[in-house]
Structure formats: C-alpha cells, structure tokens
C-alpha cells in the first residue's frame, strides 16, 4: 500500500475535528454532535484497519513507516536547535491503533445507550473525541516529546471526565487526585526527556536507539548518577503514574467517579495502558539503565497488592478498578522480566476484556435503578441472581471473566501465562526475580478468586434486594447496549492472539502461515538494527523502496538455539501447568464461598481482622498521602511561607524601612528644629537682636562712656599687639 499523509493523518484528525466542531455545537445540536463523534471514530477505525491490513500483508518484523516534519526551528547562525515531530508506525503501533480505534468505536456506541438520559449527554462525547484523538496521537508519535504532549492531554481529558459530575464533592476530589498523582509521574517523565535530550540532541525513539547502539550513554552522568539510569528511572516514573503502579496507584480507584464508559475507555483500555506502551517503546533504555529488576519488583508488588485489595471490595466498579491496577502490574512485570512480546500482548488482550467488563458492569448498573434515591446501584451486596434478568450481559461478562482469570483457550491465559512463564525463566537465571515471579503467580490465584466472587455475587444465587430485582427490566438485545459487549467478548478468545490453534482464518487478512503472528511480528527493538537508520521527510507521496522488507517466516524457536529453546519451552510448560492449577484453585475457592456457600466469608474477615482492615483502607496509602503528606506537610508549609512572606518579610523587612526613615526623619527634624532653626537661624536673629541691644546701649550719647570704651580698647589692643610683636 502506498502511504501518504492522507492515509495516516485522519486517524488522529477525524476525532480531533469532531471535538473542535462539537465543542461549539453541542449545546444546541446534541444529537448531531453525538453522531459526529461516533462517525469520526468509526472513520478512524477504518483508516487504522487499512494500515493494520497492510502490515499483516507485508508481514515483516522490521516493517515500519516513519515520517517527520519540522515543528519549529530556533536555529540562528551556528546555533542549532529545532524540534521535529513525526509519525512512526511499526507492528506494535499498528496493532495498538486497531485496538484503540476498535475499542473506542464500541465504547462510543455503548455510550449512546448509557449516557442517553444524562443531562450532559453531548458534552461527554466532546471529551471522548478529544481523548481518542490524543490517545491515537500518542500511538503514532515518533518521539518522547509528542508522547508527553498527548500524554498530558489525555490527563486533562481524564481529569474532566472523572469530574464529569462536578456537583458531587467526591467527583471533584477524585479528579484533582487523578490529575495531580499522574502529574507527579509526568514531572519525572519530563525530566527524563530533558536528560535524554542532553545526550541525543532530540528525543526521537530511533535516535535514542541509535545513540544506545553507539554507546552514547556510556559514562554520561546526571546528578551524580549514570545518566542512563536517571533517564530510564524518570521515564519509568511516567509509567508508574499513568499506569497506576505502586506507589502512585491511589488515583485509579477514585477515577471510578467518572461515567462507566469513560472508565472503560480511559481507565481500563487505553490511557492507563499508554504507560506500559511507553515503557515498551523505551525498552532498550530500561536495559541500558539497569532498571529491569526494579521494574519487575514494582510490577509484581502492584499485581499482587492490588489483587488483595480487590478481594474485599463490594462496589462492582471498584473490583474492576483494582483488577485493572493488578493487570497493569502484570504488564509491567512483563517489561521487567524481558517479556517484551507478552507484555504487549497482555496490554491488548487486557484492553479488550477489561473494556468489555466495564461496559458489562455499566450495563448492569444502568439497569439497576433505585427508586428511593433515584440513583443507580453499584453495590454487589444488593445484586444477585441477575443472570436471569440480563442474559446477554451475563454471557459477555462471563467470557471476559474467563479471560482475565486465565482460563485456558481465552486471551488472558495466553498473554498472562507467557508473562508468568518468562518470570519463571528469569527467576531461574537470577535469584532476584524469584519474588516478582512468586508475586505474579500469587496474584493470578487472587485474580481468579475475586473475579469469580464478583460474578457469583452479581449474577448467581438469590437476589438479595428483592425490590430492586423486581423493578429491573428484562434485558432485550439492542444494538447499542449488547452488540458492543458481545463483539468485545468474542475477541476474548485466545485464537485471535496466539493463533496456535485452528481458527485464525476468522480474521481474513491474516496470512496463511500466520501461526503465532503476534510472537513473530512484535519483537523488541534491537538497537543495533537502527545504527544506520534514516527517517523520511513528510511528503504527500510515498517514495519509499517497497521491496525493502522480506516477509517474516514463522520460526518455531524464535531464533534461539534448539537447546536453549527447549529449556524455555520446558519452563513455559511448567508455568502453564501452574497457571491452570491456580485458576482451578481460585475459582474453586470462590465457588465454595459465594456460590455453594460452604465457607463463610465472615469467618475469614474475623480471623484476619487486622489484615482485612488494612485492605479496606487500601494499605493506608491514601491516608499517608492526604492526611500525612498534604495536610500535615504541604499545606502547613504553604501557610507558613505565605505568613512569613506577608506577615514578617513584607511587614518588617520592607515596610520596616518606613520606621527607619521615620527615625531618620525625627533626627533630622530635631536637627532642623534645634540646630538649624533654633540655633542657626533663630540664633542669628537673636544674636542680631542681642547686638542691637548691645549697640544701642553703646550708642548712649554720653561722652564719658565713649571715653571709657576707648581707653579700654586701647589698653586691650596694646596688650595684644605687645604679645605678638
């Protein structure tokens, strides 16, 4: 296929124009605005699908498109500084584009059902369009700066959508919390960009790879630490913030204040996954910076810790929120243990099944209308037995639950199992990976447990709130409620991703030899390949040599020597076996507790009361940040500084001069009054007056007196003259 700008740019521009138009017309022409948004994203999907098909036809691990243009230029004379922007599409971005546009399209459609009665129905789509275009822009970015730009724009959309019901106190707090927590990560991210820029001269991915290959990072220091480590750490902190990893995970559960479709799109499928996408793009940097072990630990801790908190949640969206954090933890663990391909695959599979889970939850919540509070019900203790009322939602949600729990043949099993297998492999190579691997397997057990707990509490058993249940309408299949769910649910089948089973021909574009297409095409960027790389300038016509790429053939050993591959395969088989056992165990325990009711959950709560409290308080992270860091640290510090500034510094050091000047004024006033005025000026007058009296007295007119004076003066003067001469 020929690539021109007109076949790529619309992917981003269509939703962006939809946003720009809708921002003005949404108030008057709500329906038209919604239509424009949906049409735009479906158009984007069309263009993305086109590109995806092209990549599948070429079917080469090295195939990519890279076009750049100048954004602005500050060069003058021999001073050079310019900032380029560009589009970079490789297999990873092609898959990502398809996923984002696909999920976003379905979520747009679902939103026309879910948000229909909302007062701000139209405005929701305005934000949705802006968000989608930012996310697609991020995927197409060829450099870290434009990633950062779109990254922050998504943060803004996330802020706006979490605070969508701004009348509610909680929504306002949650929106600030989300923006500020991710901003902590963003600030590090920006620092990472600066650090890389100082070495590479720009932040284009391929130039970073090139520099790494040429050893440009060797020996460079920043803040007394190797610069590569600083850069890798800073960039990874961006991931930690956006993908809600420990210790910046606190915002994502609160983000559930937003409408459910936005939770599905932003806080499950796309934005939070963008953090992992960034880490994958910067994977060579993470290796050079020796950060992989730390990443694996963060991922493992998050995967396990969030899963434990999910065990005790009663709000259906909260369970899903913690499961999102946990699943993102798996992806990060995958990055840490070098499981590049599987981490990305989990990103895609998770996006599909988690979007579907959220939409299903939305479908449930939307149907449960509380006639007393006039609100929707999200609490699982008031649900139960709903599978009879909403069979289609139930089917979709069940398939996705299979996927996330890791039931074999489903997508979650394929991707998560590979990550766990690689973690096991890494643990075999180095002891430091044992803990992350163990946390990963432990988390898998908990995942199976809490997901089936959620399913049992929602859909099985007897309805616990009879009145609510009776008021709930029977679900009728509708194009904008169930169809998006069922489409997503179909894509939870593992065959679409692994392709190692029969059935890959469902997707027509896949080549016949596309066994394990995902593993064949998505390979980690080897920096050596980029040594002599040149990007093409942006042009309306495509001038690339189209025969440059050879089709990548399926290599069963993935380029590994047979012996090593056998070992890898062996370890993976062990991992897969363990995963299967774990799923059975987890589902069994959930069934014992919540389906068959043989075990009493209350016993567990009482026995582990302290642990239970810790879980309910989310391990006290929120308390630590809000009550400790902000209320005891930041705000008092602000008040102190402001008080010093106005109350002490300005009042004494600046206005104090007034008193100094007044003192000087008093002294000078005294001097002026006493010395100058009284003594000098008035004194002169007085002395004249005195002289007047004296002279008047002298000029008495009496001759005898004149004689006395003359004699006195003569005597006196002769005495003086005799002394001197």
């Amino acid at each position: 296929m020929d690539y021109t700008i007109s076949s790529i740019a619309p992917i981003v521009l269509l939703p962006f124009f939809a946003f720009a138009i809708n921002a003005f017309i949404v108030k008057r022409f709500t329906k038209l605005a919604v239509f424009i948004s949906c049409a735009a994203i479906l158009g984007s999907f069309g263009f993305a699908y086109n590109i995806f098909c092209d990549f599948m036809t070429v079917y080469s691990a090295d195939y990519h498109i890279h076009k750049t243009f100048n954004w602005f230029n500050l060069s003058h004379g021999n001073l050079n500084f310019k900032v380029d922007m560009g589009i970079y599409i490789d297999n990873m971005s092609a898959v990502m584009l398809l996923m984002v546009t696909g999920a976003a399209s379905l979520i747009h459609i679902f939103s026309t059902y879910y948000m229909k009665e909302d007062v701000r129905y139209g405005r929701f789509f305005v934000y949705l369009s802006l968000f989608t275009s930012a996310m697609l822009g991020l995927v197409l970015s060829d450099n870290l700066l434009s990633v950062f730009i779109f990254w922050e724009l998504m943060g803004f959309c996330s802020y706006s959508l979490i605070g969508f019901y701004y009348e509610k106190e909680g929504a306002g707090n949650a929106s600030i919390k989300a923006f500020m927590t991710t901003r902590v990560g963003d600030v590090f991210f920006l620092f990472g960009i600066l650090a890389i820029w100082s070495i590479v001269g720009n932040v284009t991915f391929v130039d970073i790879y090139k520099t790494i290959a040429a050893g440009g990072f060797d020996g460079a220091m920043a803040l007394g630490i190797p610069l590569a480590t600083v850069a890798a750490f800073s960039i990874f902190m961006g991931t930690v913030g956006k993908s809600a990893q420990v210790p910046l995970q606190v915002w994502l559960p609160d983000a559930m204040w937003g409408p459910t479709p936005c939770s599905a799109l932003i806080h499950a499928a796309t934005m939070v996954a963008a953090g992992v996408y960034l880490s994958l793009r910067c994977y060579p940097l993470m290796e050079v910076g020796n950060l992989t072990t730390a990443i694996a630990y963060i991922g493992g801790i998050t995967a396990f810790g969030a899963a434990t908190i999910a065990l005790v949640q009663t709000d259906i969206k909260a369970v899903l929120a913690y499961s999102t954090i946990s699943q993102l933890g798996y992806m990060v663990l995958g990055v840490g243990v070098g499981s590049y391909n599987a981490a990305f695959m989990h990103l895609i599979t998770h996006a599909v099944f988690k979007a579907c889970l959220f939409l299903s939850a939305g479908s449930v919540i939307h149907s449960l209308h509380d006639h007393h509070t006039h609100g929707h019900v999200q609490e699982m203790p008031r649900m139960g037995g709903l599978r009879k009322k909403m069979p289609y939602t139930f089917i979709a949600m069940l398939l996705c639950t299979f996927a996330i729990a890791g039931v074999p043949l489903f997508s979650g099993f394929v991707s998560k199992d590979r990550i766990l297998g690689d973690a096991l492999l890494a643990a075999g190579y180095s002891k430091s990976f044992i803990i992350p691997a163990a946390l990963g397997f432990g988390g898998a057990l908990l995942t199976a447990f809490y997901m089936f707990r959620m399913m049992f509490l929602t859909f099985f058993g007897e309805p616990r709130d009879k009145e609510l249940y009776d008021h709930t309408k029977e679900e009728k299949i509708s194009w904008n409620r169930n169809v998006p769910l069922l489409i997503l649910a179909v894509f939870t089948l593992g065959v679409f991703y692994s392709g190692s089973l029969t059935g890959q021909k469902i997707v027509k574009v896949f080549p016949k030899d596309s066994i394990e297409w995902f593993k064949t095409l998505i390979v980690e960027p080897k920096v050596e390949k980029f040594q002599n790389y040149q990007s093409e300038p942006f042009a309306w016509t495509d001038t690339r040599n189209k025969t440059r790429f050879e089709r990548t053939k399926y290599d069963p050993t993935y380029g590994l020597p047979q012996e090593e591959y056998d070992h890898v395969h062996h370890v993976h088989l062990i991992g897969a076996g363990m995963s299967v056992l774990i799923v059975i165990l987890g589902v069994g325990m959930a069934a014992m507790m919540y389906l068959l009711r043989l075990w009493n959950p209350g016993w567990w709560v009482n026995t582990f009361a302290r642990f239970y409290r810790a879980l309910q308080n989310k391990y006290y992270f929120d308390d630590m940040y809000v009550k400790g860091l902000i209320k005891k640290g930041l705000l008092p510090l602000n008040n102190l500084l402001a008080a010093i500034d106005m109350g002490i510094y300005d009042r004494y050091a600046i206005d104090g001069w007034q008193y100094v000047v007044r003192k000087i004024y008093l002294v000078s006033k005294w001097f002026d009054n006493i010395m100058v005025d009284t003594v000098a000026v008035d004194g002169t007058g007085a002395s004249v007056r005195l002289m007047n009296i004296v002279l008047r007295t002298l000029q008495s007119g009496r001759v005898q007196f004149y004689f006395i004076i003359i004699i006195f003066l003569l005597t006196f003067s002769s005495y003086i003259f005799n002394q001197n001469f």
Partner: protein, 510 residues
C-alpha cells in the same frame, strides 16, 4: 529597503494623542470617552500589526528600516532614538492587544471616567516608550514616567487599601530606578561622555570588561558592580525574590484592567530590561552571575507557588502565580542557551496572554460578587458551584487555568519546555527543583478551581449571570492566542529567533 521610520513614532504617540483628545472631550460625554479610547487603542493595535507585517524576521538585531534618531539634549548627546527588533516586537504586539482589550473590560468603570481613560492611554504611551527606546536616557524617562499614571490608577480606582498599595508600588520601583540612574550615569562617564554615551546599542558588546571602580577605598570590577545595580533595578519590576512583595499588594488593590496591564505587560519590562540593557552591555558579568540568577529564579518558581497555594483571595493567588511564572523567565535568562533564551521571551509573551485572561476573568467575577474570597475570613465558602451557574465563564476559566499551568496544546507548555531544555544543560540540579514548581503550579490552580467551581451552587452565587457579549468579545482573542500559539508557536518564535540568537552568540563569546 523601504523606510517606515514614522511607524514607530505613530505607535508611540498615538496613545498620547488619544489621552489628550480624551481630556478635551467634556466629561459628561461618557460614551464618547469610552468609544474614543476604544477606537484609539484599536488603531494602535492595528498599527502594531502593520509593524509586524513589515518586520523582516531574518534580520538579527535592530531593523534599520524602522529606526528613528533625532538629537534631543545635544549637550549630553541624548537622542530621541527608537528602534525595533525581535525581542521588542512580541512585547509591542502584546501591549497593543492587551490595552485594547482592557479598554473593553474597563467599560464598567463609572468613577471619573475622563481621568481614568486619559491616564490609561498615557500609561500605554509610556509602556511603548520603554519597549521602543534605544537611548538609555529616553528609556529611563519612560520607565519613570510610567509610574505617574500607574500611581494614580491604583490610588484612585483601586480597592479598599489602594493608597498603601499605590505608595508601595511607587516607592519600590523608584528605589530600583535610582540604582538604574546610578548605572546610567556611571556608564555615561565610563564610556567617555562621547556621542554614544547613552546609545544602548553602542554601549552593548562588553566594552567595560577591564574597568575598575574605586569606591570607599575598595576596588570593584566596574561591570560586576554596575550589573548588580541594573539587576536590582530590573529585578524589582519582574519581580525577583526578594524584591517581590509590592506585587501582591499592587495586583490585588488595582482595578481589573490595571492588574491585567501590570501582570501582562509591566512585569515584562523588567525581563526586557535584562535582554535589552543588562545582558548586552555587561555580557561578561551576566555570565558570571548566571548561577545566582538561576538560583533566584528557582526561588521565585517554588516560593511563589507555595505562597500561592496558601492564599484565600483568588486575585492574590493569581498574583503569586505570576511571581512563580516569571521565575521561569528568569531561569530561561539564566540558561543563556538558544533554547532557554527563546523560551524566556516566548514565556514573556505567553504569560502575558494567560495571566491577562486570569485577571480579566477574576474581574468579571468580581463585578458579580464584589468579593474575591475562595474561603471567606469567617470560614464560609466564598464561591461554590460556579460551573453550574456560569457554564461559559467556567469553560473560559478552564482554558486560562490550564494555559497558565502549562498544559501541552496550550501556549504555556512550549515556553516552559524550552526553558527547561535550556537550563538543563547548564544547571541540572536546578532543573530538577524547577519541576517541583510545575507540580505545585498545577496543584494550587486545580484546588482553587475545585473549591470555586465544583460542588453545589451556594445561595450567594445563584444571582450571578453568565458572561455577556462584551465580555466574550474581549476574552475570545486571548483564548485564540493561547490555543493557536500552543499548537503552532512558530509565528512568535520566528519573530524573535534571529535577535535572540544574536544575543546568545554575544553571551557565548564571553
């Protein structure tokens, strides 16, 4: 090249003509005064746009075609000399735009209209004078003259504590001016009292490197000492910590339009002074002190942000945010790299538009509420649920707020990013600290927004009406500027890059 020498004269004196004509209009004709001022500022703004269209972006330094040079006080070789380059042009455009918009926002002024508008136009003339003057003496005259209208505008039309604020503003700036005066006189003698002794361009280039000055029996390096004098003079205007405390008083007490001009244009005169006078004349000393400037800049950024967070008066909060954001300009100036310096000039422009939006919006709100408390002194909410009550106002406020905190896609981001790119290469640890400022900068604005706009509408706010057509009319150009230059900054960067590049090259040789 065609000469356009009268253009600068027209731009400079057009507001003065306006002020004089305003004085001639009978004070009963309030409408006439308002419309005349509007027409006058619009004409000035159009003239600045004409200047932009004739400006040659490839020429570094002063554009010969526009120069004006007439002897003024010939005995002392003082000239009436005007000129324009890529550093002053963005400031000229900003001044033209903001004064025009501020006239529209001053429509609601009812007290002594004639005096207000004539002083306001007089102020515009003096501001243009500062940005156009190429003669140090002329520069100084305009710098000082500007205080007079400012003093009365704050002192007569200000808030409850206006006299204090006006006197404080006057004395603070005056103190700095005296140091500048000393610097100017010293330069006059150091340069030999010749024909070029007050010519800023002729003084530039680092001629005073080897000069020594004996003062009280101690030997000082002439350029370092004089740089400190000029630095303090300009730093008070910026304002750089610890010379910043006039700003919260003046901004809070001044009427809306004056706050806008103060924050949008007058603060930039300080940094413009560095770029036009202190840096080119003493490049070696500037380089020598660059670390100190960076440290002061970072204190501004962080300290201003922390202080802003503690404020309960929304105007004071924005005033402190100006302290913080001007700190970024200082960081860019301290970097002395091509990115940093361009970023600093761009930040001067961008801060001008975004902070003007903030102050205008607060003014709009004040006209409805007659108070500015986020939390009143008695602990109750000052505002609440404004988003529900004033939807259009809230959307404009969001744009202003996010532009001010540097959200990518809006103008503040590019300048801040350029400044950070510039400063990183020289002072890495200061860059790391500066990022804290970005974090706190987002925090106080979002927190303010949440407290004022989210939640239920409180009873007091239920009577407020949304922005009217006039208010939308003067907010729209700024909204457009903030968005367009956020996506496509090249128009402004192209204007300045040659001139800034010339200055950077000069600094690089020392």
């Amino acid at each position: 090249m065609q000469a356009h020498s009268n253009l600068l004269n027209w731009i400079l004196w057009m507001p003065m003509i306006g002020a004089i004509v305003t004085l001639l209009i009978p004070s009963k004709m309030e409408k006439g005064i308002r419309w005349w001022s509007l027409v006058n500022t619009l004409t000035t703004f159009i003239l600045t746009l004409v200047l932009y269209s004739k400006f040659d972006t490839t020429v570094p330094g002063m554009q010969e075609a526009f120069n004006v040079k007439i002897p003024w006080i010939a005995q002392f070789h003082i000239n009436y000399s005007l000129g324009i380059d890529g550093i002053s042009l963005p400031m000229i455009l900003l001044t033209g735009l903001l004064f025009f918009l501020c006239i529209m926002s001053s429509w609601t002024i009812t007290k002594q209209i004639k005096a207000y508008f004539s002083l306001f136009l007089f102020l515009q003339c003096s501001v243009f004078g500062v940005f156009l003057a190429l003669d140090f003496f002329l520069f100084y005259v305009f710098w000082e003259v500007m205080l007079i209208p400012m003093f009365f505008l704050i002192g007569i039309w200000g808030g409850e504590n206006k006299e204090y604020a006006a006197v404080k503003f006057f004395l603070y700036t005056f103190f700095g001016s005296i140091l500048m005066l000393i610097g100017m006189v010293a330069l006059y003698y150091a340069s030999g009292q010749g024909a070029d002794s007050f010519d800023i361009l002729a003084l530039s280039g680092g001629h005073f490197r080897n000069l020594n000055l004996e003062l009280f029996g101690t030997n000082f390096a002439f350029n370092k000492l004089l740089f400190i004098f000029l630095f303090i003079g300009f730093a008070i205007k910026v304002p750089v910590f610890p010379f910043h405390t006039w700003l919260p008083h003046a901004h809070v007490q001044a009427p809306t339009a004056i706050s806008v001009i103060l924050a949008g244009v007058l603060l930039k005169m300080g940094t413009y002074g560095f770029l036009r006078i202190a840096y080119p004349i003493f490049p070696e000393a500037s380089k020598y002190f660059s670390y100190s400037i960076a440290v002061l800049g970072i204190i501004n950024v962080i300290y201003g942000a922390f202080c802003a967070m503690a404020q309960n008066d929304v105007k004071k909060l924005v005033a402190y945010s100006s302290v913080s954001h001007m700190g970024f300009v200082m960081l860019g100036l301290a970097a002395m790299t091509v990115q940093g310096m361009n970023g600093a000039v761009l930040q001067m422009f961008n801060h001008g538009t975004s902070t003007a939006m903030m102050f205008l919006l607060i003014g709009i709100l004040y006209e409805r509420s007659h108070h500015r408390w986020i939390v009143k002194p008695d602990g109750t909410k000052g505002f609440g649920g404004l988003y529900t009550q004033l939807p259009k106002f809230s959307i404009i406020f969001i744009i202003a707020m996010f532009a001010s905190m540097g959200l990518p896609g809006l103008s503040g981001f590019i300048s801040e990013a350029l400044i950070f790119l510039g400063i990183y290469e020289r002072f890495t640890s200061i860059t790391a600290l500066g990022l804290i400022g970005l974090l706190i900068g987002a925090a106080y604005l979002l927190w303010m927004y949440k407290r004022m706009f989210f939640g239920d509408v409180i009873d007091e706010c239920k009577t407020y009406t949304d922005v009217n057509a006039r208010e939308i009319a003067y907010m729209t150009p700024l909204c457009i500027a903030v968005i367009v230059f956020g996506i496509y900054p090249s128009p402004i960067l192209n204007m300045m890059r040659a001139s800034v590049g010339k200055l950077v090259s000069l600094l690089a040789t020392f």
